[in-house]
Structure formats: C-alpha cells, structure tokens
Subunit: 543 residues, 2 copies
C-alpha cells in the first residue's frame, strides 16, 4: 500500500490555521476524509483492474487475434487445417480452420457471430467475451472484420440443439478461441456473395427487397461472382463433365492428342477465323481441331480425342455463342458404318448424364436454388436414345404448323420448338437428329450412299439446342477435292490436309462437343457466359 498513488491526505491538525475548529466540525471533517480515502482506494483498485485487463488485452492482441504477418513461409509447424464439410464429425474437438468471413454480426458487445465459408460449405462460429480468454477488444475487432476477409480460426466444435439454417453445416458451431486475419479486403465489394447467390430477378414481392446483380456486373467482377456457392458448384460440374468425357474415351481405347491452334492458313471457313501477327507474317487461330484430328487418323492413331480451346471470330452476341470455348473433340476409324461413331457418342453422353446425376446431386441442388429448372431427362433402357432423321424432324415441325418451305434448314427458333414437341411426345431432353442434307454440312462430310443430297451426319441436342455436330468424313481424296471445289475451297490451299488422304486413310468419323453448352443446358443456366470461367465474346476480353 506504501506505493499506492492514493495515500490518505495528511491529518488536519498539522495545518496552520488562525482559529481552531469546533469538535463537531472536526468529526465532520474526519468523516469526509474517510470518505475521500475510501473513494481514492476504490479508484485505485479500479485503475489496477483496468491495467491488469489492459495487460491481458495486450496478450490477446499478440496471441489470440489480430492480423498475421504476411505469409512468406516463415515457419512450418504442420498444424492441420480442417475443412468445414467435415466438422459434423468433429464435435468436441479443437480445430484449426482457414475460411472466408461470409458475414460478421455483433450481439451486444460481448458476442460475435461469424458465418465462415469455404466454397459451397459454411458454418456458424461464435466468439464470446470471457475473462482472460476473449477480451472485449477481441470481440470488437472480430465484429469489425470485413466480409470476404480470410481468417484463421481456432475453436472447439460444439453440437447445437437447433439446426442453424444459415449454414450448410448446421448441426455444429465453432466456439472461437483465437482468430487471425490472413488476408483483408482493400476495396469496396461490388456486391456481396449473398447477392451473387441470388437469382437475377425476384421470385415474388417478398423476394423483391433483396439486391439483384445483373450478368454484366457479375462478369465485370467475376472473381467475387465466382465465389458464390452456385458458381463453385457450376465449375465443379464443368470439371466433372471433362473427367467423365475423358474416362469414357480412355476406357474405349482413345488417345488424347494436342493439335496446334496456330495455323498457317485460314482453313475450314475463312470468315470466322482470327488473324494473328506471327513474326514477319500472319497465322490464324484454329476454329476447330477438325483438320488435325483427321490427319491423326491418317497417321494411324485410330481413336483420338482433344480437349482444347476453339476460336470463332463470329460477331454474334447471342446467349449461346462465345468467341473462345472449350471443344471436346473426338475422331475414330469406322469399320462398317458411321453409326459406330454415333453410338459411341451416344454412350458418351449417357455416361456424362448418369455420372452428373448420380455423383453430383448436391452440386446440382445448389445450382437449382439460383437457376430453377426441371430435372434434365433422357431415355434409358432397351428403347435407348431417341434418334430421328432430319426429314422426320421436318415432318414433326410441319405437323405442328411450320411451313415446309421454311425448313430447308432448321433455325434456332424451330430447333427449340422441335425440342418442346419432342419433350411433350417422348419425355426426353436429349435426342439425335441423323442424316442432315449435304447442303447444310461442311465439305469434308461424307454423302449418303443412296441419296447424294443427304449426308452421313448427325447433330445431338439437349433441351432443344445443338450441343454436338458430327459426321462420317470423306477419306477418299478424289471425292474430297470434288466437294471442296463445289463449296468454293481450293484443294491446293489445304495441301497437307488433302495429302493425308492421298497417303491412304481409313474410313472415319467423329464429332465436336461444346463443353460450356453441355454445362449450360444440363443446368439450364440460360446464358453460356455463366458456364465459362472468364467468358470471351465480341465485346468482352476481360477479366
């Protein structure tokens, strides 16, 4: 007590005063002094507590919360980070979690609720002020964390009585012991990830109170948009389609090839080819691997596939065109009939549909919340996939009232109409149209043996939109040159290609699938840009 800053005041007797006070006055003075002393004592005690608390808070700041130094791999303690998706199995354990702060909400000044997010998973985390463990400052700092900050949290996993609806993992919550900031947010978010998860138009009046983010805004700020659960699921499904495509082809003896995108000449159809400055000359971007994969067949590779970018210099801004998209291409020799190829492609699509529906239920359900759609339907069992000829397709449309003279080709509008008619009659979103008129197909398409106005070619459809175009190709160089000339292509301008057939080539066929279209139509995303990570169209080259 000697060191106390609030020593009791000196007794009044020691004061020099002209007249001595009365006895009652002395008593009064002593009482006041005593009161003063007690007050000072109390103040001192409070101050001491405050200082102890301040010291504890300093410890908190150093040990329990705050920004971490920039991670430059300073150390490696090998402490495991736990995925949110597995927390239900870790009730009672103390875990370390790296996650985004989806939302942060203070309740009074003693409690903070965080929604922590990892991709499609989220969990509630709770921070409560508790002496010596969690200070008010720590709570204040945590409550102030910006949405989309990345934190490292240590806490215990506790089972909750009532399911937390705002989290995907709702049967547990994390009671935070320590929380550190790994990466902050330096700019104003263009929209929240919750906004990004919402459909672009309100479902009803009640729903109308929430922010809507239009497609262009999303694409301009694609990094934030992609963090939505919907997009995390969409691109997981995109990866799954690629995996299913490859696995099916590998198990059917196909070899993956990589053909050059830089071409010496503007082949196939010069009009829709991008020109590249190539040193002192020019090159052109391949609008498909068509020529290369056919040359691979002439080079005896028998069955080949390629997954690679396809470039189309078409200035069209539709819901289903990109200037750069992923082509899933294949080519194979045929022994007797081009239906060997068509059937392999059919089995490939069935594998993809089954794989997505069986193994990715959760992701599809996540996407459905933002993009409501009927489940994608196809035909299973002995009847198999619906296959009709182009003529039959025309007849179906004519019977529905489309003038036959409008149907030399089936335009996009009539394609969709046909899709609706087929869905109504056959209950399938997936079908094949075979035997297209030769006039509608490129020069390398093999004509039908019985009717030269038709061709050995087919398109595949999902929800009334084309997702694959394919055919038997002409392997005979004489017929090939004849067809090239008839379509205004000089065979000499494509000599290495034509020579491949002059050197002997087996009969073959194949097809090209647009990855983004399959993804868009399976999920009914309604715009192909939503199925591309960083889409490119005539007006968009960024981000």
């Amino acid at each position: 007590m000697a060191d106390s800053p609030a020593d009791p005041p000196k007794p009044p007797a020691e004061r020099a005063t002209p007249a001595g006070p009365s006895k009652s006055e002395l008593k009064k003075q002593a009482k006041a002094a005593e009161k003063e002393r007690k007050a000072a004592e109390k103040a001192a005690k409070q101050e001491e507590l405050a200082m102890q608390k301040a010291a504890a808070d300093i410890d908190d700041a150093v040990e329990n919360y705050g920004p971490l130094p920039l991670n430059q791999s300073q150390s490696r303690p090998n402490r495991e980070r736990i995925p949110i998706s597995s927390l239900s199995q870790r009730s009672g354990e103390t875990v370390l979690i790296r996650a985004r702060v989806h939302t942060s909400r203070a309740q009074g000044n003693k409690m903070v609720f965080l929604n922590l997010r990892q991709r499609t998973d989220s969990v509630q985390a709770l921070l409560s002020v508790s002496p010596g463990k969690v200070s008010k400052q720590m709570a204040k700092w945590t409550a102030g964390l910006a949405s989309e900050s990345i934190v490292l949290v240590e806490g215990t996993v506790e089972r909750v009585a009532e399911t937390i609806k705002s989290a995907s993992v709702g049967d547990v919550e994390v009671h935070i012991n320590t929380i550190y900031l790994i990466s902050g947010v330096q700019v104003r978010l263009p929209f929240s990830v919750d906004d990004a998860n919402r459909p672009e138009t309100a479902a009803d009046e009640n729903d109308a109170q929430f922010n809507r983010v239009l497609l262009d805004t999303r694409l301009n700020n694609r990094v934030v948009d992609l963090r939505s659960q919907t997009n995390q699921a969409i691109f997981k499904l995109q990866g799954a389609i690629g995996d299913l495509f490859r696995d099916h082809l590998r198990s059917n003896g196909f070899l993956e090839i990589h053909s050059p995108k830089l071409q010496g000449a503007a082949t196939e159809s010069g009009a829709s080819v991008f020109k590249v400055s190539y040193f002192k000359g020019n090159a052109f971007l391949a609008q498909s691997p068509q020529l290369a994969k056919q040359m691979a067949i002439a080079a005896d590779f028998e069955r080949v596939y390629e997954i690679g970018p396809v470039f189309r210099a078409e200035d069209s801004n539709t819901h289903r065109h990109l200037t750069e998209f992923m082509g899933l291409d294949l080519e194979m020799t045929i022994e007797e009939h081009y239906h060997e190829v068509m059937e392999l492609l059919d089995s490939l699509f069935l594998t993809i549909f089954r794989g997505l529906s069986e193994r990715y239920k959760d992701e599809i359900a996540v996407v459905r919340k933002q993009f409501p759609a009927d489940e994608f339907k196809w035909r299973e069992g002995p009847e198999g996939t619906l296959k009709i000829t182009f003529h039959q397709a025309v007849d179906i449309l004519v019977a529905d009232g489309v003038p036959r003279e409008d149907l030399d080709d089936i335009n996009t509008e009539n394609e969709k109409r046909l899709g609706r008619l087929i869905k109504a009659k056959y209950d399938t979103d997936y079908y094949i149209i075979d035997k297209f008129p030769m006039a509608l197909r490129p020069f390398y398409t093999m004509p039908d043996p019985d009717d030269p106005t038709l061709s050995n070619s087919y398109d595949f459809f999902m929800r009334g939109e084309e997702i694959l175009s394919g055919a038997q190709r002409i392997h005979d160089p004489t017929l090939l040159c004849e067809k090239m000339r008839s379509k205004g292509v000089d065979p000499d301008s494509m000599k290495p290609y034509v020579d491949a057939f002059r050197l002997g080539c087996a009969p073959h066929g194949g097809g090209g699938i647009g990855l983004e279209r399959v993804l868009m139509l399976f999920l009914k995303l309604n715009n192909i840009r939503r199925a591309s990570l960083f889409p490119r169209d005539p007006k968009r080259l960024e981000p």
Copy 2:
C-alpha cells in the same frame, strides 16, 4: 455324250470313194481316227477345265480380292475386326483384319508375303495360289499393292515353327483367303515408314546402306512420319503423361479449369506475346494461364489445374523452344509454407516417372531403338528427390571451374553441366533447385522472408534441363504493386488481376510444366519438335 463337241468321225464305209481301201489300210485308218478322237476328247476336257478355272478366277475378282467400293456405310454386317496384337491367342481361327500393307513381296508367281501393320504391331501374312481359292491374278494383284495401302484381310491364323523376326507378332502368320483394298495411295511416299523408324544417323558402316530421313523432311511429311512405331509409341507416352498428371491431381482434390487464351492486354511480358486482330480492336494470346489461375485461387477454387496451349512469340529456334506448347499448370493455396506446393509437384513427377516406367515398358523399348538413351533415373526411398538451393548449385559449378562471376544466372550450358555433375555425384536425372534470386523471377514471385534478394521459388530439372518453374506468389496487393512497379509494370494495366488480391486472397503457389519437354527429356529425343504432334516454331506453321 451326244452333246459332246467331239463326236467320233463317221465310219469310212459311208464315204463315197472311187476305190475301196485295203483291209490293213482300213485298220490303220481306224486307229488314227481313234487317236484323233482321244486327242480331241483330251483337248475338250482341257478346254473345259480352263473355262472352269477362268470362271473361278472371275469369282475371285468379284469376291476374294480387289478394291472395295468407297465405304459410305452401305451396310453393317457386324463382323468383328481383330487387332494384330491379339493374334497369338487366335491360332487356328479365321479372322478379319484391317491393316496397312507395310511391305508386299512376291515369291515366284504363286506366293506373296505381306507385312501387315497396325500402329506398333505387325504380323506376316501369306497368300498362296491354290486352285479354286486363290488365283494367280489374285496373287499378282496383291503383290502389286502399294506400301501404306489399307486392306481388309480375311485369313486363318497359323502358328509358325520359327519366329518371324520382321514382325512384332512373330509366333503366328495369317494365311489369306480374301483381301480387299479399303484405301490406296495416290502419291509417291516421301519416305517409307521403315525409313522413318530408323535413327537419323547411321550407327556403323553396315548400317550406312539404309536411307536416313532428317527432321525437317519428317516434319514436312508428318503424317507418314507419325505412322512409325517410334512415333506411335511417343504419342502414346505423351497421352500417358497427361493422364498421370490429371489422375494425381484429381486424387489430391484439384479441379480442372479452362482459362481464356485471348487476353485484352499484353500482360506478364509484352515482348513475347502474339497480337490478334479482334473485330475492330486487338487481343493477345496468353503466354501462360498464370493470371487466370491465380484469379481462380482468389475466387476460392483452392486447387486448380489446367492443360492447355501456351503461346510464346520468341523468335528462337532452339532444340527446346516451340511457339506453341502444352502447359500443364497448377495452382494451390498454401497453409504454412510454399514447400507444400513443391512437395506436391515432386510427388506428381514421381507418379509420372513411376507410371511411365511400370506401365509403358514396351513403348519405351520401341522408342529406345530409334533414340538410344540411358534409362531415366530418379531417387526413390526415404532420401527422396535431391533438392538443392540456387546458391548450392552455383557452388557446385564453381567447384567444377565455372567462374563465380558468370553465375548471376545459370545459363543453358551451365544448367547441362550441373546436370552432369549431379548425375555423377547423386546418380539422378531429376532434381529440384530451390530459392532462386528474386532478380531472376517475375514480379508475382514471393520474396524470401529472411533474405529479400532471394525468393520462394524453384525450378525442376530432368537430364539437366528445366521442365518446371514455380513459386509462391504474392497475395498481398500492396507488395504486388510495389514489385510490379520495380519491374516496370504499371499495376493499372492489370487491374482485374490486382483487384483479385484486393478482394482477399489466400496465400498460394504453383508451377507450370512443359508437356513436350517432359516427354523429350524422359525419352531423350534431343529435339522438342519430336515430342509435338504438329510442332510450331518461328519458321513452321504447317502441317
């Protein structure tokens, strides 16, 4: 006999003659007539046989050999074609085979030996003239088949006493019953596939008698070159590397992404970027998916990989540069230390090396015949892959006599020298160099926390050549902008990229692998063009 064309002559008695012949003369005449009759009978029989044989030959021409009509899928009898590789198991069976005529050789006019080829497999087929079955015409036609023609053969598989060395399947041969031409050869072959299978230089004087085909001739006629067993094996191995890469990453939680090759700005390093005419403006071809995959990390995809073309507008015609190559790229978040990435990449390479060596022994053996090389070596077991720092690498070179002042960077020549020194000392063709000087790395590389002149970056090497470059990246936008400016890059010119970090991004790292380089160096092909299906360099845009 009444219808016989050789009725016996009428008896002499019925002839009108001036004087009757003597009895002995009559006897003589009768004998002569009988002889004449017999001769006529014999001639008639021979003529009949000849006509029967001719008729049989006509049948041959129609049914047993000759060119088939153009396969336009006229019919589909569903007759299985048998791969040559499985013929050893089909001794005694009659099989149908589609194959190339590798060589055709007549022995006299009654026998023809064909070497039939499918990719890396070949078998001897034999056609022997046999009455009613195989005519001389059929033998002549078969002997005249041009090399590289594609035929459909039906024959019986017969075991042979002595192994046929000229065929990969040497324990059986095919005895041909029918042979049809599916696709002929309309041009003179630039070289034979046997020539293509030979090393480009003779091993000894004895070997000097054979044709050599130089690389440029091969690449100009790539379709024929690719038919060689060597190339069939090389590209099977290329496919295998891709499969092993993907399988390893998939099983480690990576998602495949596809980032656009068309970019709005010439980023990373403007000098080596191709310019594209993009409608009324310009675009640029991505020289790596670096920016996109980092943005995918900022968008929470956690672990991503991409297999796609990479474009480099460098006018350098070395053995190891292409203007377009396949990048195997990956990027992942890190929790504590960038060695998490380095170790994952290491395990990826070990998986690839083991996979190739264990599962593709035959293909590697085929390639070795044309490209002799020591087996590729790496370190297994607890000691693991050799990892040294850049400083240690410099010390090794200095100890070998390279002046230290030449080693601010390690040039290609010194890289190879280092490879030889390491091979001699550690008996490995595969190693990692860690901690490169910051000055040698791009702006997005994370500096070392203790020594800012160093960086958290690494290169991987095979046989003394770099096959992967990678690093921890800067996820802090302030430091990133600082480093950009210090390397002369305006952060505003890459705003969507920098903004991705301003929106919060986890610490991360990755690397990029050149597919063709890995293939070239594993097999020691000595020129990267041999590891690319249709290579592109400053002087080559075709085929």
